[in-house]
């Protein structure tokens, strides 16, 4: 119970930081998905259920914050599935190795790509904008940027666990 409260508070902090730090991280309209990094961390640390639940809850809050009619649930859907996919990288006996190794980056990359494809598939329904064009223009760079940003926690964990 205590851990759930702790994770919830951290999730809230990440949500706020995600919106406040935007201007420092943006490169040519592309932003890393800090929330997704957090979800992948939860997936590796706590497993599929925690990551799926976190993905749904955080995605829903992001949907509510965007204040857009008729699209409530699109980020929640994408992040729920991303959390579920990241959960496949969970291994109870190898948590530290996964967080401090390249497997963490693979988990981030896969989850981020799945997230972006689902997001654009639903979000762009009924518009003139091509889904795959948007995936290559925004989805792939966002995935690469998020994965690159994942190097920071990966090295931090590697250092922490090796000492």
């Amino acid at each position: 119970m205590q851990r759930t409260v702790f994770y919830s508070l951290l999730s809230l902090l990440f949500l706020v930081l995600d919106t406040v730090l935007t201007k420092f991280l943006v490169i040519e309209e592309i932003l890393p998905d800090i929330i997704l990094l957090w979800i992948v961390y939860l997936a590796i640390r706590e497993g599929q259920i925690a990551a799926t639940t976190a993905g749904f809850c955080l995605g829903l809050v992001m949907d509510l914050l965007s204040g857009q009619d008729g699209m409530l649930g699109v980020v929640a859907l994408a992040k729920t599935i991303a959390g579920f996919v990241a959960g496949y990288f969970y291994n109870e006996n190898k948590t530290q190795q996964t967080l401090g190794g390249y497997e963490f980056l693979i988990a981030v990359g896969v989850a981020s790509f799945v997230h972006n494809v689902i997001y654009f598939l639903i979000f762009l329904q009924g518009t003139d904008i091509g889904v795959w064009g948007a995936v290559f223009r925004y989805g792939v760079p966002t995935t690469l940027y998020t994965t690159a940003l994942g190097l920071i926690p990966m090295f931090a964990f590697a250092r922490k666990y090796s000492s």
Partner: protein, 275 residues
């Protein structure tokens, strides 16, 4: 019973995923009901106050650069103001001669951007002014550089603004020099698109695009951007006009909300005719 329980436990991850997916699809199928609006107001209000508390972070780093830009802008504007003063006097005189109605004066509410939600193609900002300051949904958001977007949700002390760089945003635009009208939209990328412009109409690179009188949400005369390119594809009826937005959305920190409510008589008449 025991077997059923075992099966549920065995497939709990999949069942949870199915439950969440079902909830997402139900939410996607929902319209903006009063209950959803209430939850949205609560979420915006509580998270925006936390964003507000952390708002000092960007300012510390940007202060020096911002000061430099402001000094340069100040110099340019001082020069422009003196020229515009002359033009205004002339304008008043000519309007009196022709008996034209004076343009409306607007009331602005200054607000600080406390959060940015820059999901791809869905860019919004959270500002620290809300219903308590007289803000309502659909009020235009501007800066000194031009049009930023419009208010799409409000709580007591905060509001969410939909940016021009949002796939659902549309505004009636007019090319200032050639008086050519069109619909300004964004389809991703760095530029806006001026839609429905016939190939025969005269538009040149560098032309300024403003909001037009045809909009029922935005007052006319707000700068949207400058024409970046015009392309005339063979066989197409319309030309493709790309507009470079005049507002730097990445560095947006302070905005003004125009307390503008469209003329209800005009809207009622237009709706009556449309029926």
């Amino acid at each position: 019973m025991r077997r059923l329980y075992d099966r549920v436990v065995h497939f709990k991850e999949y069942l949870l995923l199915a439950l969440f997916l079902a909830l997402c699809f139900i939410l996607l199928a929902q319209k903006d009901t009063s209950q959803i609006r209430a939850i949205r107001v609560l979420t915006i209000g509580s998270l925006a106050s936390m964003q507000d508390a952390l708002g000092f972070i960007p300012n510390i780093f940007d202060l020096k650069r911002e000061n430099k830009i402001l000094r340069e802008v100040n110099l340019t504007l001082a020069d422009e103001v003196s020229r515009l003063r002359e033009a205004r006097l002339e304008n008043i005189r000519l309007r009196q001669l022709l008996g034209l109605r004076e343009r409306e004066q607007f009331d602005y509410v200054a607000a600080r951007v406390v959060g940015k939600n820059m999901q791809p193609l869905r860019n919004t900002i959270t500002i620290d002014a809300g219903e308590n300051d007289g803000l309502r949904v659909n009020m235009p958001i501007v800066t000194d550089a031009g049009l930023v977007g419009k208010v799409v949700a409000t709580s007591g002390a905060y509001a969410v603004g939909q940016l021009l760089l949002n796939k659902d945003f549309r505004v009636s635009g007019r090319v200032q020099r050639g008086r050519v009208d069109g619909i300004v939209a964004w389809q991703g990328g760095d530029f806006l698109i001026l839609k429905n412009v016939a190939k025969t109409l005269d538009i040149q690179v560098g032309d300024v695009v403003m909001t037009s009188e045809f909009s029922s949400i935005f007052p006319s005369g707000i700068k949207i951007g400058v024409v970046h390119t015009t392309t005339q594809a063979r066989g197409a009826l319309f030309q493709t006009v790309e507009i470079s937005p005049s507002v730097d959305f990445v560095r947006l920190e302070e905005v003004f909300v125009v307390r503008y409510t469209p003329d209800s008589d005009r809207i009622a008449l237009e709706q009556r005719i449309a029926r």
